[in-house]
Symmetry: C2
Subunit: 345 residues, 2 copies
């Protein structure tokens, strides 16, 4: 590492926590938000790393997120647990509910967590990894902003709706995927626009519904789902399960409510957790050992598992620290010193 | 309808039930199996219609399915219900467990059904539609035979692993999707082989892992998942949740166990059901009305919802009956008259 600005993961975590505390976020929430942001940076998942701090500060400065919200757990004793984020960030809410979700899943075999009324900016892998650490499989999904047209349609209606899954692997990194159900991320189209380069075919349509490779026309039109009508069906399922079913905003409502995409979306999220030991019990087989047979066979073909690169980056960061550029470090300094004024508040 | 051979849905159901009873299948099971086969034919879903009878008779003739299996429910009082199909067809097992699954889902908000040790040949939409009639949302998935390579791999390992979802729509057909996680069905490649036409690019690779449009090379190599690495991740999830987690066969084990693909696969299946009323209760919103907002907006764009064609075919069949060809009718006659001897037993 010849890079001059190397911080340990813990040192970066401390700095980001301090930034959020100075921005007025209550200590527990600052820790949870900083935790996922630093996890993204640590895993070389730059799009969900410290780059996200500015967006969080902006939504704080705009008064569109509640910095002192205390997540409220609601437990009716069923297999559905709820946590009201109270207009705060989603991460402290998940953090507050995590132990109860794991406990209920072990007791009932399957359980769901509803996160209500939260600002959402983070990758979902953080949540499914946390449950994999508990030995649980899980699915996680949420709406976003409606940038995406349904298959056969012409207008923005669906979100980029991420879908994540985690499966525990004894003594190793869990099997984790987490992807947008759009072909590409909106930020990727934005990068092409800035660079003046065309986007690949199949990413988007223009406002008349015609295929386009022009980033401006794409941003003005609609993005497309991955996998054609199948991806569109999954994205629709996410709107229904993590929006309509919870009585929380779907992607179009989230956009209408915020009045634009300058700030983070406000909506709910759904996590479904399953205990493999309960499901397998009567079979007499070890579900995690069976899982290893499959996952090992994938690797033996030379195929990469989802998240493999992320886990490799994590190991490197834990060992060597996280390298930041001069500009990134200067920004952290400014955020720490100026608080919300750094984003024009 | 100028077709001479038109049967009412009920008349066809009666004929198919009789075929299975004469083949030695216990009455209750014959009704359940005939029900899903005739539903496929009625919905103009020919690949899951009466065409499937021959495959079912073959597996009966081979003694690889238990014709007199009585599904056994196992209920530990948790949110996971199990039904042992006892080596019989999956449909009677689902039928036996359906009411308890719906009841438990209403009580607990979310519940899962494990179907163990079954022969599986039917589309999953039948099950998720049955749950939508109960006002429940549901997910259904199962392994199959390992014809599909994981993204970045070169060898058959994953099944064509179907994934289905149902969502109730008040006063209308439910929102239902049900698709293979492979790009195409194996039968479609077989049809190209017989016709001597190339398959589209992106469907399959040859045994060396190179892209191919030659149907023979494709059948000898491996099929590909829909949506690249994202579809591959979902297919892997299905192996883990509906295979490893249940302690039932994954797709490769199912193939090894049957020793070839001439007969239907034997494995388990997983259904997850959710009660929208429970999930939405604290929001004060009507989850099904919210769902209508989304689904109506998709239609208003001119986009078709999954299963729309199937529901239209169903309405036509219920009104006008089901038209069968001379050959199809002759085959029904033969199956009814000769029983298992019709398939060489």
């Amino acid at each position: 590492m010849a890079e001059p600005h190397v911080l340990s993961v813990d040192a970066l975590l401390q700095r980001v926590e301090t930034i959020f505390e100075r921005a007025g976020v209550r200590r527990e929430s600052a820790k949870a938000v900083a935790g996922v942001i630093v996890a993204g940076e640590r895993d070389s998942c730059k799009s969900h790393g410290i780059y996200r701090i500015e967006g969080c500060l902006k939504v704080l400065a705009a008064g569109k997120v509640e910095p002192n919200a205390v997540p409220q757990l609601h437990d009716a004793g069923t297999s559905v647990i709820e946590v009201d984020a109270g207009g705060g960030f989603s991460n402290p809410a998940f953090h507050a509910a995590r132990d109860l979700l794991a406990e209920r899943t072990r007791a009932n075999g399957i359980a769901a967590l509803v996160i209500r009324d939260c600002l959402h900016f983070s990758a979902l892998w953080h949540d499914v990894e946390a449950l994999a650490e508990e030995g649980l499989a899980s699915l996680s999904m949420c709406p976003s902003y409606s940038f995406v047209a349904p298959a056969g349609g012409t207008e923005q209606l669906l979100g980029t709706n991420p879908f994540a899954f985690g499966w525990p692997r004894p003594g190793g990194d869990p099997y984790v995927f987490d992807f947008a159900t759009s072909v590409a991320a909106r930020g990727e189209i934005e990068l092409h626009r800035r660079a003046g380069t065309p986007i690949p075919e199949g990413w988007a349509i223009d406002r008349d519904g015609n295929p386009t490779t022009d980033p401006d026309a794409a941003l003005d039109g609609a993005m497309l789902t991955f996998g054609g009508h199948k991806g569109s069906a999954i994205s629709t399922m996410i709107e229904l399960l993590a929006g309509a079913m919870l009585g929380e905003f779907m992607s179009k409502e989230a956009l209408d409510f915020m009045g634009g995409t300058a700030l983070l979306p406000r909506h709910g999220a759904l996590v479904i957790a399953l205990d493999p030991r309960t499901f397998a019990a009567r079979s007499g087989r070890d579900p995690l050992a069976e899982g290893e047979t499959l996952l090992t066979a994938i690797g033996a073909q030379g195929a990469r598992l989802p998240s493999e690169r992320r886990f490799a980056a994590r190991r490197k960061a834990m060992r060597d620290g996280i390298a930041l550029s001069e500009a990134e470090l200067a920004q952290l300094d400014r955020f720490e010193k100026d608080g919300l004024a750094a984003v024009g508040a």
